[in-house]
Amino acid sequence: MAVTTEKRTYTVDEFWALCHQTDERLELVKGALRELAPANFEHGLVAGKLQVLIGQFVMSQRLGYVVAAETGFVLSEQPATVRAPDMAYVSRERVMESHIERFADFAPDLVAEVVSPSDTFSSVAEKVEDWLNAGVRLVWVIDPATKTVRVYRTGQPTQVLREQDTLSGEDVLPGFACKVSELFAW
């Protein structure tokens, strides 16, 4: 869950400097700091599972890269927004000519967010909005509590997938498919 920590606003550069002075996990949303609390175990299991499934597919097809949770992406400079997805896939083309030693200055192609019980609806909606506005082509919101996945794309109605449904990579990861139930099984 994100907790708003203080009122002053930061630029991306100031935020970068701050991240080197603190052990806290932070996001920057419209200039304001948000603290990211450690996730519960189920959240970690689902995010881990997804990372393995997507990672295997992306590597075998040599499509690009999968990044783990906490990787910062600059979604907007003004107002400054740096978000960290639970998992993201970035195609080869988007990574090229970028400074990978800092926050990524490009948007991922695919982002997955795993919902924690403490997440409010509007905090999740805001993340989805930020990712899509920044150019993410496909956003999956995975809710372990209801074993559902919500699929968001710009200008398209939200799709709700349940356990028996298939999660598809669509045109973002052509050929990728897995049962939704697989994400929640161990």
Binding site: F121, E126, E129, A145, T146, T148, R153, G155, P157, T158
Partner: protein, 187 residues
């Protein structure tokens, strides 16, 4: 917050009869009864403010009708009967029937407002938004009393989130309606 009350499947008629036999506030979601517990103070205050803004906008029926909390609307008849109650809603004049219905409205409001409580989970709210949009609502506002944000959901559009300093517009659903988001939460 909704509490699942029983697994037996119910019809819309069952709900109507039940609602006259009990003091409980119930919704019917795909044949399943859900109990609505009384909300907190902040929720009630914000609902009242929104209902007032919508009622003023309605201008005595010239633009349409504002509905207050707990008004039952039939979202889906048939094999997955669903009757939901929005926290506030607006139906445009041209969509109103000659006579207002006695039972649950068979008309899905043009605008639906859901005010979230801190105990509402992501999935509960997402399911409601989805149900309203699929049933034909043109716009859903989710008003979050804790973060003081409003997310705007429309069919075939990406979600937009507005903060206190932003202006909430009625867009083409409630033309000329505009208010500061902060106004919804101001004392």
């Amino acid at each position: 917050m909704a509490v699942v009350t029983g697994k037996r499947r119910h019809t819309i008629e069952d709900l109507w009869v039940l609602s006259h036999q009990t003091d409980k506030r119930l919704e019917l979601v795909r044949g399943e009864l859900r109990e609505l517990t009384p909300t907190g103070w902040e929720h009630g205050r914000v609902c009242a403010r929104i209902a007032r803004l919508l009622d003023v906008y309605a201008s005595g029926g010239q633009r349409g009708v504002a509905l207050g909390a707990e008004t039952g609307c039939v979202l889906h008849a048939g094999d997955e009967p669903t009757v939901r109650a929005a926290d506030a809603a607006f139906i445009r004049r041209e969509r109103l029937p000659e006579q207002l219905p006695v039972g649950y409205a068979q008309i899905v409001p043009d605008l639906v407002v859901e005010v979230t409580s801190p105990s509402d989970t992501y999935a509960m709210v997402a399911e409601k938004v989805n149900d309203w949009l699929l049933a034909g609502a043109q716009m859903v506002w989710v008003v979050d009393t804790s973060s003081r944000q409003v997310s705007v959901h429309r069919p075939n559009q990406s979600v937009r989130v507005y903060g206190e300093s932003d202006t909430l517009s009625g867009e083409d659903v409630l033309p000329d309606f505009a208010c500061k988001v902060s106004e919804l939460f101001a004392w």
